[in-house]
């Protein structure tokens, strides 16, 4: 049943306070929203990364739901194992099915965990994979990932990254996933309803959530939600869903805000706004435009 107001979510908290995320961590907001929406029974799997490190310093855990971490590169494989095992245990009458929800960072999803993810999707496991995307390896101190946007400074791209962001949605649509969507924590209603929807669909589904990171993007922590909003409204992070190959743009931004409004607030992009780097800024804009127009074309060719 769809979520229409915050009261529908209140009291369903899956994460406890007292974890050690940075002040203003966007990833934690995203994860909270996912868990508020998720329907029991479920099990959460996380790869190594900020989320895992901040939430489970033995003998503590912030998780109020069953949770497991195994390593950095294998969350989707672990999830496959849990899902399949519970299938047979239910069949044998000694266990029951749970929806398995992976929640991982962009590094564990786009890079080192991509193969396990691809394998799990190809085999068609009944899992929901959620990627909170803070656009770099934050846990190890802000290194480039395949999700880092072009131009962005990280500690391994001191002059700004040259490559574009890997288009994980297209890649997973290419895997034949029945449901792939993007979301932003500032649009909590959209996000939580997408979690419900994804969870209700049999097969491997994917949710890509933008998760501003004050530490890694170098911005003041009170701006987290603001930045998520700007990412969407500048068309940098389009909000859409692909159901069985059919595209629906959930937030059609007809008059985008200038990307500068977004870039300006973050030190990782500071150099892009300097006159000598006009070309880089252009490159960034081209990337945003290319993706948006590609998306429009797909939505036209494969309408929902």
């Amino acid at each position: 049943m769809p979520i229409s107001k915050l009261a529908d979510l209140y009291g369903r908290e899956g994460l406890s306070p007292g974890h050690s995320a940075c002040q203003g961590c966007g990833a934690t907001i995203a994860v909270r929203q996912v868990l508020l929406a998720a329907e029991p029974p479920y099990i959460v799997v996380s790869p190594t990364g900020c989320l895992e490190v901040i939430s489970t310093p033995y003998p503590f855990t912030a998780w109020r739901v069953p949770w497991v971490h195994v390593a950095f590169e294998n969350a989707a494989a672990v999830a496959s194992g849990i899902e399949a095992a519970l299938n047979v245990l239910e069949r044998k009458g000694i266990g029951r099915r749970h929806k398995v929800i992976v929640i991982g960072g962009d590094g564990g999803t786009f890079d080192i965990g991509l193969q396990a993810l691809s394998g799990a999707f190809e085999r068609g496991h009944n899992i929901l994979y959620v990627c909170y995307d803070n656009e770099a390896y934050m846990n190890t101190g802000i290194q480039r990932s395949a999700a880092t946007p072009p131009g962005s400074i990280t500690t391994t791209t001191p002059a700004g990254k040259r490559e574009r962001k890997k288009d994980i949605v297209s890649i997973l649509v290419g895997h034949g996933s029945p449901y792939v969507a993007t979301a932003s924590p500032h649009l909590w209603k959209d996000l939580t309803n997408k979690v419900r929807k994804a969870q209700s669909i049999e097969g491997p589904t994917f949710l890509h959530i933008i998760a501003p990171c004050p530490r890694g993007w170098y911005f003041d922590p009170h701006l987290t939600i603001k930045l998520a909003k700007l990412a969407v409204e500048t068309r940098i992070f389009p909000i859409y869903e692909v159901e069985n190959g059919r595209y629906r743009i959930n937030y059609l931004i007809s008059r985008p805000r200038p990307v500068e409004d977004y870039l300006r607030l973050q030190n990782r992009f500071a150099h892009l706004l300097r006159p000598e780097n006009a070309a880089l800024l252009e490159e960034f804009k081209r990337w945003v435009e290319d993706r948006w127009s590609q998306l429009l074309k797909m939505a036209e060719a494969f309408p929902a």
């Binding site: 029991p40 029974p41 479920y42 099990i43 799997v45 895992e52 490190v53 939430s55 489970t56 310093p57 033995y58 003998p59 855990t61 998780w63 109020r64 739901v65 069953p66 949770w67 497991v68 971490h69 195994v70 390593a71 590169e73 294998n74 989707a76 494989a77 672990v78 999830a79 496959s80 194992g81 849990i82 399949a84 095992a85 519970l86 299938n87 047979v88 245990l89 069949r91 044998k92 000694i94 266990g95 029951r96 749970h98 193969q115 396990a116 691809s118 394998g119 190809e122 085999r123």
Partner: protein, 391 residues
């Protein structure tokens, strides 16, 4: 009393698969690699035909195979996997995690040499390269042992005082692909031997967090606790094997042959059979054979006991530890002797790398050489590459 279903001709790989079917595993995930692949194939068939009610997850790599097994194990399933060589090496990281998370997974390893250069034939480099991962390591001499030990491995792994993964090793090709008669148990006998036991698992009603982050304040204790459990497995094994219905199939830490021989040959896996054959056939009464079944936890005590009367010892390693004073098995034997204060002439033999299977002639040559080197005031430690053609 027990009842044997019958004898069947089986390869080592088939014996694994058959045992795994009988123990009613719930979950299998594995990736093909020679010479282990037949295990995976047979199990796929059992699952597909309905003979085994289990999920078989054909993952995209060995790293994922063992990862999926960990997930399944934590979900409460009885879990099996198998691999060889490069596949095992690719699992290396995950092996430590499986033991650290205390998952009673059973894995068959059809041992094969490690690349480079690529070679698909038998040796023990693969498992020896991961011998610190905290698994119980068992070695089998023939398909019969493979069958018996695989079943016992589950009981050992799942024992509440152990809760550790177990690797059952069989020599690539020479055991994995050799068809031999295997005495098998009835299905019910196996099931009765392996009742389901409770352990913590992932479930919504009792939400716990698995695989947490341990600061320096706690890590050391976890690791010591785990090491203790591994040592405990040595004791538990006695109970596990004593309860095994087929008396002659019980997993002892080591088996001895021709105990009165003054020179003891210590060996892991299939080659022990060849040595036994030679000693018997050529009537080489000088030599006793210790076929070690348990490599980890290393049975120092039992080994020392078996060496009580020996005047010298030949340790056969089918792996090297390049740069170390001695290869893995010889190193453990030397440490045990050192600790016991026993100064026995030791000939360390490295043999069979990359499938250079010892011929009878080679074994005879080794035995003769050991006679020369041992007992004439020769060096305490001497070394030999058996069957090596280079300079």
């Amino acid at each position: 009393m027990y009842s044997l279903a019958s004898y069947r001709l089986m390869t080592g790989n088939e014996a694994v698969a058959f045992a795994v079917k009988q123990v009613d595993v719930d979950f299998i995930s594995a990736y093909p690699i020679t010479p282990q692949t037949i295990i995976v194939e047979r199990l796929s068939e059992y699952v597909s035909s309905g003979e085994l009610d289990a999920e078989f997850v054909p993952v995209e790599s060995e790293h994922s195979a063992l990862s999926a097994c960990i997930g399944a194990s934590l979900a409460g399933a009885r879990v099996f996997t198998s691999t060889s060589s490069q596949g095992l090496a690719l699992m290396h990281e995950v092996m430590y995690i499986a033991s650290g998370m205390r998952c009673p997974i059973v894995m068959a390893v059809s041992n094969r040499a490690l690349s480079a250069p690529l070679n698909i034939h038998g040796d023990h480099s693969d498992i020896m390269g991961s011998r610190d991962a905290g698994w119980v390591l068992i070695f089998c001499e023939n398909p019969q042992e493979v069958y018996d030990y695989t079943i016992q491995a589950f009981r050992l792994a799942e024992h509440p005082e152990v809760l550790l993964p177990v690797a059952v090793n069989l020599d690539g090709f020479t055991v994995s692909h050799s068809s031999e008669p295997v005495a098998i148990l009835e299905d019910e006998v196996v099931r009765a031997y392996l009742p389901r036991r409770e352990r913590p698992r992932l479930e919504f009603e009792e939400p716990a967090s698995f695989g947490v982050f341990a600061l320096p304040t706690h890590y050391f204790e976890f690791k010591v606790e785990q090491e203790k459990a591994l040592r405990k497995a040595g004791e538990v094994l006695e109970e596990v094997s004593a309860a095994y219905p087929n008396r002659s199939g019980r997993l002892l830490k080591l088996s001895k042959f021709n105990e009165d021989g003054r020179i003891a040959i210590i060996c892991l896996g299939g080659t022990a059979g060849t040595v036994r054959h030679v000693v018997k056939k050529y009537g080489m009464k000088d030599f006793s054979l210790i076929s070690l079944k348990l490599f980890s936890p290393f049975p120092s005590e039992e080994l020392l006991d078996a060496l009580k009367e020996a005047e010298g010892v030949v340790v056969m390693d089918r792996a090297t530890s390049p740069g170390a004073p001695l290869p893995p098995l010889a190193s453990n034997v030397a440490a045990s002797l050192y600790e016991a204060g026993v100064r026995l002439p030791l000939m360390s033999v490295v043999y069979g790398l990359g499938g250079r299977e010892p011929t009878l002639k080679m074994i005879v040559e080794m035995l003769e050489k050991s006679r020369e080197r041992i007992g004439e005031g020769g060096p305490v430690v001497s070394r030999m590459y058996l069957g090596y053609g280079g300079g």
